[in-house]
Each structure stands twice: as C-alpha cells, then as structure tokens.
Symmetry: C2
Subunit: 682 residues, 2 copies
C-alpha cells in the first residue's frame, strides 16, 4: 500500500498544484489561503515542479488581480493556477468568462465557501462555485483530502487535453481543513498524467512574437454569435476526456473515479443525489440502510460541468422511483437549487424518461449552508421522507425551520459509526497548543501504528482565547466521516473553567474516558465540578481522570504550555497505544520539533512528559450533590433576545436555535457584548 500521510485538503491540493504549474498567482481568502501559502513556501524553498523548474508564485492585490494575472500568464502559454473561495471567486468571474471563451487550459482550486448575504460566513457551502456555473468552466468535485490531490491532477490533465478550464472544488473547512490519510501521487504519476505533448501544445498556443496572432478582440453582431458557437465541440468532448484521464489515473494509482459514482442497492428505489463531502455522509448512511435491507442509494456528482446526461442516466439504477437532490447552496426565487434543476432537466429528456419507465419523483432540498453540520441521521431523514412520500420541495435538513416549516425532523441518535473507530474530543483554549498537539498525536498514531487518523478542528471565530474543539478519530481503515463527533470514547477538557459554561461531559460516550486539566487533585475535585457533570459521570459510568497540567507546566519550566502534558495524559489513559510506546513516540516527536531550539527545551519537554505520567490520577466519583451548577451563559436579567438567542450561541448551543429566533435580514440589537462574561482565566 502507498505511503499515506495525514494532511488536509488544502495541503493535498498544494502538493499537486505546485508540481504541475509554472506560474501561480495568489490572493489569500479563508478557507483557501493555505493552498497559496504552501505553494509560496515550496517555491521559496526551491522546490521544483515535475519539469524541474521552480514555479513563480506571486501575490496580487486582490482576487481580481490574481484572475487577471492568471489570464495573462495563460495567454502567454505558461501553465498557471490560483486558489480562492467565496467573494474572492466572485471577483474572478469576469476573467473566467474570457479564459473559457478563449479555450485556455487552467485549473482553479476552490475550497467552496458561503457568500456573504444576510451575514458573512467564512464557512463552507457551494454558493461560490454555483455562482460560476454559467461561465463555461468544467467543474470537478473532490469529496475528501485524498480526492483533493487526485482530482487536482485529473483536472490538470483533462484541462490540457480538452482546452476547457477547470474549477476543482471541495468543501471549505470540512475538506480543506480536515486532516485525513492522503497518498500524494508521485512525481512519476504526475508526469505520466501530464504528458509533454499536452504541455507543448499549451506552450505553443501562447502569444509570442515569433508566431503572432490576435485574440481578445471585440466583435460586432455580425460574427459574435458564430464565434461563440465554435466552442461546442470542445464541450462535447470534455466528459470523455475526463473519463479517460480518470481511467489512466486509476491504472497508475489503483484509485478509480467516474463522472458520476453510484453507491447503494442495485435495485434502489430511493436515491440521494449530492456532491462533495456530503456525498460521503450520504454514503455512510446508505451503507447502513442497505445492510438493513433498504432499497436506497447515493449518486455522487463528480463532473458537475460539462454535465453528461448519458453518464448520469447510466450511473443511476433504473429502478429508482424517488430522487432527493441535496444542494449545499440557496438561490432564493429560483424554482430550486442548481443541482436539483439539473436533475429535473435530465428527466425532461424524453429518452431518459423512457429508459426509467417514467419520471421519478424529484425533490430538492438544502443542507449544510455555512458549514452547518450534515450527518448520516439527516440523510436517513431524507430517505424516510421519500419512503413516506412526505418530502416537500425546497426542504431543509439540519435546522429547525418553524417559520416556513420546510425542515425535516431527524433523529440525532441514529449514528452509523462503529466500535472499530476510536473517537476523541479535546476542548482547548484558542492558541493553547491543543490543536497542534492533536495534529502531532495524529502523526504519531498514523505514522507509528497501522492506524488511520482523521482530525477536524472547530475554532470559534474569536480565535485566540476562545474555545477550540478537536474532533479526532483513529481506526484500521480510512475514516470517511466528514462530520463532527457526537459521542467520543475519550474527551479531554484542557481548561477547567469550561465546565461551568459548556456541557462537555455530555459528549462522552457511555463508559468513556473524561480527562480534566484541574487545579484540584483527584480527592478534591469532585465537589468543584458542576452537578450536571457529576451526574453525567455517574450515569454514563465514565472513567474520570485529572491532571494539574498548569502546575506541571510551571514546575517543569514550560510556562503556560500545557499541550504536551495533556497529550501525554491522553496517550497514558486512552489506550490507543501501549503507554511505553506512546511515551517513546511523544519524546521522539519532541526531539524532532524542538532539537533545533536547543537541548534545554527538549529536556524541559521530556520532564513534562515524565511528570505527567506520575501525576495523572483517576477520580472516584462521589454523590451527585455539587454545590456548583453550570452557569447561565448570560445574566438572568438580560433582555429576551440576549437570553434566548445570543445566550444560546454563547453556550455553544446555537445549532438548536430555530429559524424564528433569527431576525430576517440579519438584524441584531446593539450593545449586547456587555452580557457575555467570558471568564476563561483560571
């Protein structure tokens, strides 16, 4: 098996994009910035592309400038790329029309993100890429970090052969920032995919004084329309070229892809159509439901444009009676979201309808806007709605819509995750090193054992000084679960003060382990934690450990850095690795990370590790009678809106707010920050 490394989608893209381009024009925007940064670092370090040259990476003054620079560079014949998202992508639209109209091969890598509407959201959905679907670009989806690398390469190969520019996209944050196991295609594989012939053709199509030509002219009504139709045959050929590139890639790497990928019962009657990370969520629900005898399936869109009606119809079981199309965007005023309209259009074709013995019921719905969680339970709710024929057009799933009543109820308790996966959550304080330590832990476990790792890190947008929650899974197989952990076998709370504010023990699975960074020892701590946590610990029979990480950090000269201590404690009690092996691995990692900072730093860290092993204590639960209870997020005398809406968000329970809680148009009262008491100091 190929050597796999835990990395996020952005990194996976950067590995391929840097290796297969000559010019990279960038401008940072969340969540795409990492791709540009990594390419910049690579070139700064002198890393070469597959042709042995160092790509020229230039940061422009805006995304408009980046798109213009790309257009210019492409026109001169250089292999050129960029990375962007959201409003950044919108600024590229004018150049995108030109790049496509001029049949110029390029790949833009987009970590798909919401577009600011009633409010800005830095998080993921497909609003940005859908705003480009009319530009004439091919659009290719990646569903996980591995596919980010693979589709980046397939797109690069297909664009050069087809001359159609490609928008390669994947879910912002959920895929761009999820760490998962990735096998980056080797330089040899990349060279095999991007043949010298294709590169030469692109170079030769560039403007040059030796072979002058004119393009980018203005045309009058006499010839413009005819000129616009010259591109048809290139679009007709494109899906076949993509399929061919996928086949070649499959032979080279063993990873097989198709234009549309169906998973589920061969005789499925209910099918969900969806793309990107949501397709993996749907697949996991489908696997469970099919194992229970349900006739369901999921059709994953991989090549969204050019949309091959033949390949779509081919991939879909002819037994289908009901289709739910799930769009991760919202287009108010349209008859439905774009993927839904595409599926309707497919079946308006008389030949397709005949092949399916009539037109299935087609219902469109929305999910996951602005990185709203999307779980297998929600997919099940969609299948249930199809079964009962209660699915309403324009439904939503993942929220409670008590205004237009479009939301589906779902059962959060319906989980498909098995015992073969170890799930851990870590509650840290922004900038306290928790996330870094967890990434390190993933490296250790996926590198030193035969385990695969997956990690996703939830930051509050206040970032430093606010709560971060790490969701980390380990297992023998690659983990395809692009959603947060709901119940973890292990939960670490790295700041004692969190307990009074958040229901952290509520996240521990029955019989799981709860580790608390506590200023109180095992014998003292019980009555210093809220009654609610006492009850959780007792009811769920949790193993409860404390470590005074802050004290140990001070003792061992680590200052405020508690991350290595909490990481050590995790290894000591979670059982994912034998304790001794784990300690050796941590120390090994410390050496790698800090030896350039001097022997002293390494020693301090080693001392912290050893001290942690000694100091870790298990707590014997007492009676549920703590004098402390969890605090209300805002004072009792706060205005209603602050209590009912902002208070919920502060308590990390904003997901529970129904639509009616939010004011149309994104209006909020002013002067509300006075009610938020952060109290996160020890």
């Amino acid at each position: 098996m190929a050597k796999m490394t835990a990395m996020d989608g952005n990194t996976a893209v950067a590995e391929v994009a840097h290796a297969t381009n000559e010019v990279i024009a960038i401008y940072p925007i969340t969540p795409s910035s990492v791709m540009g940064e990594l390419c910049d670092i690579k070139s700064a370090k002198g890393q070469k592309n597959i042709w042995g040259s160092i790509p020229n990476v230039t940061e422009m003054q805006s995304e408009g400038g980046a798109a213009g620079a790309v257009h210019g560079s492409l026109t001169s014949g250089a292999l050129t790329t960029t990375f962007t998202a959201s409003q950044g992508l919108l600024l590229m639209i004018p150049n995108m029309y030109k790049i496509a109209g001029e049949l110029t091969p390029t790949v833009f890598h987009v970590s798909a993100r919401a577009i600011a509407a009633h409010a800005l959201s830095i998080f993921g959905d497909h609003s940005d890429i859908m705003a480009c679907r009319q530009t004439g670009w091919a659009m290719l989806a990646a569903n996980n970090p591995q596919e980010c690398a693979d589709m980046a390469l397939v797109a690069q190969a297909a664009t050069l052969e087809s001359r159609i520019p490609f928008l390669h996209y994947f879910d912002g944050f959920r895929t761009s920032h999820e760490l998962n196991m990735v096998d980056i295609p080797s330089m040899d594989v990349m060279k095999a995919m991007i043949t010298d012939e294709l590169v030469a053709a692109h170079h030769n199509a560039g403007l040059s004084p030796e072979a002058p030509m004119m393009k980018g002219t203005a045309q009058n009504p006499d010839v413009y329309f005819q000129g616009r139709e010259t591109v048809n045959k290139y679009y007709d050929a494109c899906p076949g070229i993509v399929a061919k590139a996928m086949d070649k890639f499959g032979k080279l790497t063993g990873r097989k892809y198709s234009l549309f990928e169906y998973v589920g019962a061969k005789d499925a009657e209910r099918v969900v159509v969806i793309m990107c990370s949501g397709a993996e969520v749907a697949e996991s629900a489908v696997s469970r439901l099919v194992s229970e005898g349900e006739k369901v399936g999921v059709l994953k869109i991989r090549l969204f444009r050019p949309f091959s009606i033949a390949a779509f119809a081919d991939a879909l079981p002819k037994t289908v009676k009901s289709i739910a199309v799930l769009d991760r965007t919202k287009e108010p005023g349209a008859l439905g979201e774009p993927l839904f309209q595409d599926v309707c259009t497919v079946f308006a074709d008389k030949k397709v309808a005949a092949a399916f013995g009539g037109i299935p019921t087609i219902t469109g719905g929305r999910y996951g806007l602005g990185s709203k969680e999307f779980t297998p339970a929600m997919v099940k709710a969609v299948f249930d709605g199809m079964k009962k024929a209660t699915l309403k057009h324009g439904f939503t799933v993942g929220i409670k819509d008590d205004v237009t009543n479009l939301s589906l109820d779902y059962d959060p308790a319906w989980v498909v995750e098995g015992k073969n996966v170890f799930r851990a959550m870590f509650y840290g304080l922004g900038s306290d090193g928790t996330v870094g330590a967890n990434k390190n832990t993933m490296k250790i476990i996926s590198g030193d054992t035969d385990n695969m790792a997956q990690g996703y890190f939830v930051y509050d947008s206040k970032k430093a000084g606010s709560m971060t929650v790490s969701h980390v899974r380990f297992g023998k197989d690659i983990i395809r679960a692009p959603y947060l952990i709901s119940k973890a076998q292990f939960v670490g709370c790295h700041l004692f003060a969190f307990l009074e504010k958040f229901d952290i023990t509520g996240c521990v699975a029955d019989g799981g382990v709860f580790l608390l960074n506590s200023p109180y020892s095992a014998s003292e701590v019980w009555n210093h934690i809220p009654k609610e946590d006492q009850k959780n610990i007792v009811d769920k029979k949790l193993k409860f450990y404390v470590i005074n990480a802050s004290e140990i950090a001070k003792e061992t000269g680590m200052g405020a850095h508690t991350n290595v201590i909490m990481q050590t404690a995790f290894f000591a009690i979670s059982g994912v690795l034998p304790k001794d092996e784990a300690v050796a691995s941590i120390k090994n990692a410390i050496k790698k990370s800090y030896s350039k900072k001097g022997e002293e730093v390494v020693k301090k860290n080693f001392a912290a590790v050893d001290r942690t092993i000694e100091a870790l204590e298990e707590v014997k639960p007492g009676p549920v009678n703590s004098p402390i209870t969890r605090k209300a997020p805002v004072p009792a005398d706060s205005p209603d809106f602050v209590k009912n809406v902002l208070g919920m968000a502060i308590a990390n329970r904003g997901d529970e707010l129904p639509v009616s809680a939010l004011t149309p148009g994104g209006v909020f009262p002013t002067g509300t920050s006075q009610y938020e008491k952060r109290n996160i100091a020890l």
Copy 2:
C-alpha cells in the same frame, strides 16, 4: 390617449428612476450609460423627484464602487438605484448577495449585454443578467421602451413592498437604443404607485443613531443556515406583490401586465417561451401563424425571479404538446440554458405534469447572442421544427452552424410586416448628422401627424467615419418590430462612395424609392453607378432620385453638413407627409434647434431646405451596362482568411459567415488591417 413621445428604452427608464429615487450612484458602461447620464443631467438642471427633492447623482470609480455606494446608501434608508450592464453588472454581484440577504429594497436597471468571452461584445444578450440569477434578486423584464418605463415603476413599487431587490432588465441596444412611442407615467401615477407608507417603511428601516441596530455581521455555522432561511416568506410573497402592483398600474394607466403573458391560439399545441424584445418578435410571428390557422402561441416571461410555478402553469394552454424555450445566452457545459432548465423544472413537478396530461416535449435553443438579429422568420423556423419534431436540443437560430450542425434553417423571405407600415433606411457616414436628422424626422412625424414612429440605428463600432444605417418605421399603430428592416419602401444613400462597396439598392422593396446623394446630375449619374445597382433599379422598378447635397451644402454655407438637405429630400419624395407641410415642419424644427445659435444659422438652413426642393431630380433608368461594378471588399490577392472572413465583414455581410469561418477561442491572424481600403471620401 396619453401623450406619447418617441424615446429609447434608456430614456424611458431614466424618467422613472430619477423621479422615484433619492440617491443614484452611477458608472458608465455601454449600453446603459445613457440612463446615468440623463439622471445626472436632470439633477444638474434641478429636476425633482416625486417627493420634491433633487436626487443626489454621484459617479463612482467603477461598478464595484457604484454597487457599494448603493448598498451603503440603502442601508442608511435612502431610496437608491443604479444602472449597468455586462462586466459592470458582474462587479456588482458581491454586493447584490448582501443587498438581497439583508432584504433591502432597490431596483437596478440593466440594459442586458453580452459578457466578453472569446471576444468582447458591447451588444445585447442575457448573459449578464443570467450571471445574477442566483443572487436572490427578483428579475423583471421589459420588452420595449414603453415597458422600460412601466416595469421600472412596477419594480420600484414591488421592491418597497416585498423588500426583495429587483433587477429590471431589457435588451441592450435593441430596447435601450430603439426609439419608440412611450407614454411616461405621470408624476401622479408614480406617486400613486409609490405610496408614502412604503417610503416611510424604507426610511425607517435604515441605520440611524436614534434607533441603533446591527447588521452585516459574521455568523458561524451554528446560526448562519437558520438566518439564511428567514427570507423564505418574503420570496413566497413577492410574485403576489408584483401582480398586485401590475394590477394597480393597469388601473392607473390602462396598460395591463402579468407575471407571464400568453399570446396565441387558446388551444395551442406548440408554444415558444421567451423574454424581452424577442418576445415581441415571437408575438408577431405567432399572430401571423394563428391567422393562418396554426395552433401556436408564445409565453412571455415577465417576472423571471421569483419564478412562480403556479402563474406559469396557469398562463400556458393545457393543450400544449411541444415547447421551445429560447434563451438569449449561452452556458457551455450546462444541460441547457437557464430559462430552458426552468421550464424543465416546472414540468418535473408531478402536479403540473398531471394538469397538462403529461410532460410536453421541451427543447431549448439559443438566439440573438451579441445582438444577432432575431426575426419572425426565425420564430417560424422554430415552430416548423416543433411541427416536424426535428427540433434538436441546444439548437441555434439566426446563424449557420456548420460545425456542430445545431442551427435551424429559416426563410428570410418570410416576413410579417404589412403595408400599413412605412419603412425607410438611411445609409449615412458616422458623424455626418444622418442619425440626428432621422431622430428629428421621427419627432416631426410622430408629433405633427397621427403616425407612430420607431427607429433603430446601427453603428459600426468604428463610429465616426464609418457607415451608420438608420432603420425607421412609421405607421398608424404602435410598431412592435424589434428587428432590422430587410426591405424598405424608401432607402437613402447619403454617401455616393457607398455604392461601390455595399449592396444598398438590394434593400429597397419592389417599386420603392431610392435617393442618392450624388455629385452627378440626373442625366449624368446612370453610368456612374455600379451595374449591380442599375440592375436592381430596373428589375425592381424603383423610383430613383438624386440630389447633390454636398454641393448644396457648400452653396448655402452649410459646409459639410448635408443632413438637413437629405432629410428635406426624404420628405419631398417619400410621401409620408404632404410636401408643403413637411417643409413647414422641417423649418419649424430648424428654428427650435438653431435659433439660439443666431438668425444666420437658421437662415442658412432654410436656404438649404428651399434649394433642396428645387434641386431634387428623378433619374430615368437607362440600360444595365455600367462600366463600373461593385468592388471586392479586399484585394483579390489577399490571404484566404482576409478574403473569406474579414472581407465578408467589411462588405457588411458578416452575418452570412458560418461557424466554421471563425477560429475557436477567438483567434485571428495579425496584420490584416492593411487589406481594408475604406475609400469613403468623395
């Protein structure tokens, strides 16, 4: 009947937009600039809106800035608008999402224009507005200059009541620049439509220190999706609000509109779905075909967003078996263009399909890209294709596609224009005053007689010094013929040199009148015109007149200004007005135009008029044996591409070029301007 004035669509919009707004942020872009310019002029002159204040008109540094200024101004509660097109509109997209998300009422008036792709085009199609269909804006179409005024007002009323921003659009050039008869709604009508209540609600919703609120925040995944769904009920209500505004407007003015407007046989089996000026073309074809017993009809889209499935299904005859959806845009790689996909989506609804006894055959096609002509003959070709069931999905009409063979053949000889309309064409030299004189002629005829006028002016993009062709129609009824004249009862050639280059006499209808500005007298001219023109004149039995306008201009001290002379000659021989009345009207117009330049100028013009009447001579055709023949547009030894492609364009025959003549990607050879011999001097 209301007082109607000949004006273009841009002017009609400006009249309403200026009267119903408080702040206007502008940035010029063809073909929308006139709207902003007129508003600027109005405010500079101190013209007031319906509330008695002078709108603040500000030109920004780009369309991005204009959109930002509009957003800011709206947020402060001012009634605000802007005007744009094409790339300008693309730059507004980011702000459009926010304006819609924040439920802010405004109307953007867009003279729809192509977006630069393989080549730039300043001309009209729907690519720009279709690039905004996902932003959450209502979209309302106007099909002619009258509707530009009417829909501007309906949109302004509906946006204030619905809180959904409106994109009001109409065809760039074809409608924005066509002069037709318009009754601008009176200030009273505008006041009745925009009630004080609606205005107060908008003012009060603005940010103010007295009633502070917060909007435009950032939201996290916990609440963003719920917030995004708060707008649903506003979109649900919007079509009803528009319909109500249309009803009210109908009562006030007698002009009735609906969300979707059907014209044709009640039991139509074949229906074309289309919007903007093309809908008028389709209507004129349908009228003729229905009169011949064909079961055909046209459904005009008026409110494109929010798309009311109920209103659409309601408007369409239940007898329909075949629908052709005509889109004036191209989205390569999509399953079809957007209006086509909408119609497919309508019928994917099981209830709608049942109401129609099954799903009709739905075929999508493209027409009119970059202001390509769209005529009733092309509509007939579409109906014929439906009849024979030969219509292919993705067809084009108006061009010859010999590469992907998607174009329909049509019979240009199939014309629906009757004898009740007088058609005149004038070939002038850019900046020679021909267009101005024709606009003047339209004013005279529509003002001083009971005739209605329509005028459209085709400029070469070289503008000054190049050919301009004026297409002017007169008739007792309002003329709805938004396409060029193919055969005119009167053709004026204002530059003798044109004859050697262009087939101008080919445009005169059998038995029509041909007027030539000629340095040769009636007795001399015959053998100085090309043999091709001699043949046309003889074969078609044309009345042929000459006037030495350049000589008369010199004699009467008019210098190079021949426009008044040619205008006088037109009136003298066309017969649209009795000669004496016409002369009086022209002199009256001269007085109005030039009296502020002094008595001298008026006198010179009067002299030119009188001299023209005397000097005008009819030519007796001789034998068809001229030593002169029309010249090839480029030298015989030019390269093939120059001869076959550029030469055709130079000869004003670019429309005849098939798709195969154009290089994919918009590439042209260089160094070709050397082959164009303009030779336009006398």
